[in-house]
Symmetry: C2
C-alpha cells in the first residue's frame, strides 16, 4: 500500500538564493570563484566585544548558555527589546507585546499562521520579498499584488491599495521598509494614508522591518505608531548585529495577537536559540557599542552601495533607484534585454555560468520586475563589487554585439 503525504507542501519552493548557492558551491569545488551579488548576507560580523564576551562564557562549565529558555525568549532580552524599540521606533511597548522568535522566517510563519485563513486575500507590493509568495501559497491565501514602480520610487500606490480591498476577504497588508528588493524607505505620507486605510477597513498591517537600522538617507517610519491596534511588526537580528545563520528575531504588536503568535512560535521551535539570545542581549545592553557598530556597518555598506551605483551608471540604459536603505539595488535592464529576447532570469543564468557573477532574477520578487535583476552590496568588497558590475556591463555589451 502506498504511503500518502500532505500535498499542501508541494507548493513550497526552495528560496532562489539557496538554489543559486548550490550552483555556486559546485563551482567552488571546481575551483571557480563567484562574485556574490545575490545574497542578503551581511559582510560584517558582530562587534568583537560581544564575540569575546561569548567566547569567555563558553569556557564556563555550566548549562547557562545551553538551557532551554522561555518560549517567548528571556524576560531580560524582551525588556532590552522594549528599550530598543523605544529608541528606534519611538514606541512604548510592554514586554507582553514582544515575542522573541527563531529568525525572520519564523517571524513570518508564526504571524501568517496566527492571522491568515485559507481563502483570505493579502495585499502586498510587486516587487516584494520573494519569501512572502511562497508562504502565502502554503497558507492558501490569495496574494493581491500592487505594482510599485521605479518612477514612483517604489512607494506603495495608496489608491491602488484601497481599490484592491475586498470586504470580508482582504485580511492584511504586507509592508516592508526599508524594502527588499528595492531599498525604498517608506514615505511618511504614504505610511499615514495606508495606516488610515488599515484602520478603516479592519486590516492587519504586517510590517516587516529587518533593515530598520540600515537606513542611509531618510528616516524609518513606525507603522505601529500610526496604527497600534492593527500593526504586527517583524524584526530579525540577521542584518544587525549580523548573525543571519543564528536565527533570531522578534515580533511585536497588540498583546492579544502576540500571545497567539508566541504559541505558534513554541509549536514550531519550542524556543528561540538560547546562544543567539545571550549574544543579542549583550549587544543591546551596551547601547553605545550598538550605536557605534550600526554607524560602522552603515559606513561600510554605503561605500559598497556607492561603488555599485557608480559602476551601474556606466551601463547604458540601465534604470535603477539609489536605495535609501537595506542592501540591494534593483536594476531594470528592459531596454537592453527586450531587443535581445532576454529577461532578468536568462541574464542571471548567463552571468552565473559565463561570468561567475551571482545575481537574483527580478521575477522572484514579482511579475512587474521580470526585466530586472537584484544586486546586493553587503557581502563583497568594493573592489569585487566593482568587478562584478563591470562583468555585467561586459556581458550585456557582448550580447548586443553578438546580435
Amino acid at each position: 500500500m502506498g504511503l500518502r503525504y500532505n500535498r499542501d507542501v508541494d507548493v513550497l519552493r526552495e528560496s532562489p538564493t539557496r538554489a543559486i548557492n548550490r550552483i555556486v558551491e559546485r563551482f567552488r569545488r571546481e575551483g571557480r570563484d563567484v562574485i556574490m551579488l545575490s545574497t542578503g548576507e551581511p559582510g560584517v560580523p558582530p562587534p568583537g566585544e560581544v564575540r569575546l564576551w561569548l567566547s569567555e562564557v563558553l569556557k564556563e562549565d555550566s548549562m547557562r548558555l545551553y538551557s532551554y529558555t522561555p518560549s517567548p525568549g528571556f524576560l531580560s532580552l524582551r525588556e532590552a527589546i522594549v528599550g530598543d524599540v523605544r529608541d528606534i521606533d519611538g514606541v512604548d511597548l510592554t514586554v507582553d507585546q514582544v515575542v522573541v522568535v527563531t529568525g525572520g522566517q519564523a517571524s513570518m510563519f508564526s504571524t501568517f499562521a496566527s492571522i491568515l485563513e485559507p481563502g483570505d486575500e493579502v495585499i502586498l507590493m510587486d516587487p516584494t520579498y520573494f519569501g512572502y509568495w511562497n508562504l502565502l501559497a502554503y497558507f492558501k491565501v490569495k496574494p493581491t499584488p500592487i505594482i510599485a514602480t521605479i518612477e514612483e520610487g517604489f512607494q506603495p500606490d495608496v489608491e491602488a491599495v484601497k481599490e484592491s480591498i475586498v470586504r470580508g476577504k482582504t485580511k492584511a497588508l504586507i509592508l516592508t521598509s526599508p524594502d527588499n528588493p528595492t531599498g525604498r524607505v517608506l514615505d511618511w505620507g504614504v505610511a499615514r494614508a495606508l495606516a488610515e486605510i488599515a484602520v478603516d477597513y479592519g486590516l492587519w498591517i504586517v510590517y516587516d522591518e529587518p533593515y530598520k537600522t540600515l537606513i542611509y538617507e531618510g528616516e524609518h517610519v513606525s507603522m505601529y505608531k500610526l496604527a497600534p491596534e492593527n500593526t504586527i511588526s517583524l524584526y530579525a537580528f540577521s542584518k544587525d548585529p549580523g548573525i543571519p545563520g543564528w536565527r533570531l528575531g522578534y515580533v511585536y504588536g497588540p498583546e492579544w495577537i502576540v500571545r497567539r503568535i508566541a504559541l505558534v512560535s513554541e509549536a514550531i521551535t519550542y524556543n528561540p536559540p538560547s546562544v543567539a539570545q545571550h549574544l543579542v542581549l549583550e549587544y543591546l545592553r551596551n547601547r553605545e557599542l550598538r550605536r557605534k557598530h550600526v554607524e560602522y556597518v552603515k559606513r561600510v555598506y554605503m561605500e559598497r552601495r556607492d561603488v555599485m551605483l557608480e559602476e551601474l551608471s556606466k551601463i547604458k540604459n540601465a534604470k535603477y533607484m539609489k536605495p535609501a536603505g537595506a542592501m540591494f539595488v534593483m536594476v531594470n535592464l528592459g531596454e537592453v534585454l527586450e531587443p535581445l529576447g532576454l529577461d532578468g532570469a536568462k541574464l542571471a543564468e548567463k552571468l552565473l555560468y559565463e561570468k561567475n557573477v551571482a545575481v537574483i532574477p527580478g521575477e522572484f520578487f514579482g511579475k512587474s520586475t521580470k526585466m530586472y535583476i537584484r544586486l546586493s552590496f553587503p557581502t563583497e568588497t568594493p573592489q569585487r563589487i566593482r568587478e562584478g558590475v563591470r562583468r555585467i556591463k561586459e556581458l550585456l555589451e557582448t550580447l548586443e554585439t553578438r546580435q
Copy 2:
C-alpha cells in the same frame, strides 16, 4: 471593524514544563529555592574541547560562524550524521536522506506538516510525550491512544495497535524510544511486529529517538532498519551533547519524503542555527571524544537515576519501573492518592507550593496516567534529587495523617 485571526491556533497550549518554569521563576525572585524534577534539561554541558574550539572561532573576524547555511544543513554535517547513524543505528543512508532541522520540536512540526492531513488518525501510546497531543490537535488529526501499562513495562500492545487501525484513516504510528515519560526502551520483538504492521497497512512510523544514546540497560532498536520505506526518524542534539536551548536536530527517512520535510523546515526557520551546526559537527567529527562524553554523561545520569530509585523505594505503595533509558521515572501513586481524593496534578501543585519541588503531572502524557507524576533526574545533583524525593514522601505522609 474587528480584526480577525486564525482560531486554529487556539488549540495550542504552552508546554507544562514552561508553565511550571514560570511559577518557579517567580518563586526564585522571591528567594525560594525549587528542586527541579520537572524538566528534561541535561545537567552536563557539551565537552570542554568543543566549547573551547568554538570559543576560539568566535575570535575570528569573519562571517564563518554567522552566515546563512543551506536549508537542510551543511553538507559536511549531514555527512557526519550519516556516519553517526551508521555507528549507532547500524543503518546506511545517503546524505539526501538526512535533513538537519531547528531542534526536536521543528523535527516534529516539519514531519507532521509533511505527512498528516486534517481528518487523519494517528496511533500513539498513552502515556506519551506531551508535545504530540498539542501538535496533532493543531494539524486537525485524531489521536488514537493505545494504553501502555506499567505491568507490561510500558511496551506497546501490538494487538491493540493492529485493532485500532482504520483503513484509509490511520496515517501513522508514533513511537518513542527510549521513551519519554516512561524510560522504556522498545523491545526488539515488539518493534519487529509493529514494523510488519506498518508495512502491511501502509502506515508511517514516526520514530522519535532523541534519547537514543542515553540507554543504561538494553539496546537501541532501529525502526528504520526494520521498515526503511515507512520510517521517519527524528533526532535532536538537545540531550547529547547537551544543547537544548540551541535548537538542533535531524530527520532521516526515505529521500522523497525527507525532501518535502526539508521544504517545510525551510518555510519555518530558513535554516537550522549555524552556530549549533558548527559545534555539533566538531563534536561528531571527533568520534573518540564523543564516545567518551556519552559514557561520562550516562554514568552521571545513572547515578542520579539510581539515587532517585533508592529514595522512591521508601515511598509506601509507589509503583514505578526502573527506566532503561532517557531521563525520567513515571511514578504511579494511585494507591496513595485515590483514598485522599487527589490525583497527580493536585499532588504536583502541592509539591510545588508547599514543598518547593517541581514535577510534571501524569495527565499531560495521557489519560491513563492521571495518578502518576513524572520525575526527571538529569538536572539536579544526587543530593538534591534525594532531598526532592524525600519531600514527596514527607508530603504524602502528611496528607495521609491529615485525613
